[in-house]
Amino acid sequence: MIETDFARTDLWFMLRGAGMTLTLTFWAVLGGTTMGLVFGVLRAAAPWWINAPLGAVLDVFRSIPLLIQFILANSFKSIIGLDMSAFMVACVVLSLYTAAYCTEIVRAGVLAVPSTTRRAARSLGMSWSQDLRYIVYPIALRVSLPSWVGLALGVMKDTALVLWIGIVELLRASQVIVTRIQEPLLVLMLCGLIYFLMSYPISRLGAYLESRWRDHD
């Protein structure tokens, strides 16, 4: 039998870390998708003088390392004297980061709907919101959902970076245990396994949706 100092409480500690990872992912994806939907539809429809600045601002979130976004947000919060927990900062930054990517996904989906289809809907007497709900939404969803699943998975993996601003999520929890029992390989393998179990089923679902919807086109 292999001897190890890895205790049952350590596993519990890591699972709680995994819970934090999932909680952060949930809020980030919820906030990011909500904003992404609004911005995405806006970017697909708005005139250039709204579109260009909005695109440029969102592009900043995709061009700067997430780690630096966390550091900046955290120190900016202290500068303006905002009373916010590290968890809140992490949620806000991750939401904006997710929104930046989600906007492009939604925009691509909306633009994938042929303009003739939309004009047909409008000339049948549908209002703009009816057109969005009954025509654009179902078609755009098929284009966007696989990328959206990929985005959600990416965000889950990116939440690991919040360890820098002092939140104990799965990776940080593993590191704490490694420091104590000095068995990096075992603990990290376990950590990787947990990440894999959280990510792999969803990534298969995304691949399945993509192939299924492509075949039925």
Partner: protein
């Protein structure tokens, strides 16, 4: 708000940070070169007839795609210690990013390979080309064409991922240098805003020059 910004301090450190930026670009480029080479090999291995090669490629790709990049770097930096291999933070970061790049690129390459009709390979072989020659002259140029856009994206990702080096104690790349300055002066916001601006410029340069290059390379 009773905070006075000290921007001149940050600007004084600009030369140091630009030297760091050079290291950042260096790591990103090297990791991309290794990543592309390994990615092509993995894509071929995944379609190979030899089962162990297929299993190895699948394990690599799924690990790279389903765990955080930081985890992969940790695995090399801390995990390899169990085998008595102690790596510095620079190679750990480089190998970690290259591993990640290879995993993501392999999947794109596989899609790209599927887009090239098998009849072309057969035609090349029946014209007397050897398999490696046919791959190099017929398949690879077409592959690079379809892969140009995914590779540009991956390059941007690689640049952003280099910032993770600071977590394993690297202090020569842009984030590492900035963090070092930050610890010394506690002007966190000023220094990191400047670092963010440099990262922005680097990624924009990459995407814009890729667009110009694509327009020139793929005119036909």
């Amino acid at each position: 708000m009773n905070y006075t910004f000290h921007w001149h301090q940050a600007f004084q450190a600009l030369p140091d940070m630009l030297r760091g930026a050079l290291i950042t670009v260096e790591i990103a480029v090297l990791s991309m070169v290794i990543g592309i080479a390994c990615g092509v090999a993995l894509a071929l291995a995944r379609n190979a007839g030899f089962a162990p090669a297929r299993a190895f490629a699948t394990a690599w790709i799924e690990t790279a795609r389903n765990t955080p990049a930081l985890f992969q770097i940790y695995m090399i930096y801390f995990g390899l210690g169990s085998f008595g291999i102690f790596v510095d933070s620079f190679p750990a970061l480089l190998v970690g990013i290259a591993f990640n790049n290879a995993g993501y690129l392999a999947e794109s390459f596989r899609g790209g390979l599927r887009a090239i009709p098998a009849t072309q390979m057969r035609a090349a072989r029946s014209l007397g080309m050897s398999a490696p020659l046919a791959f190099r002259l017929i398949v690879l140029p077409q592959l690079l064409r379809t892969m140009f856009h995914p590779m540009t994206n991956q390059m941007v990702w690689a640049i952003l991922m280099t910032s993770l080096g600071v977590v394993v104690g690297l202090n020569t790349d842009l984030t590492g240098v900035t963090q070092e300055l930050n610890v010394r002066t506690f002007r966190t916001f000023e220094f990191f805003v400047l670092a963010a601006a440099i990262y922005y410029l680097i990624t924009k340069t990459v995407t814009l020059s890729a667009r110009v290059l694509a327009a020139r390379l793929f005119r036909y």
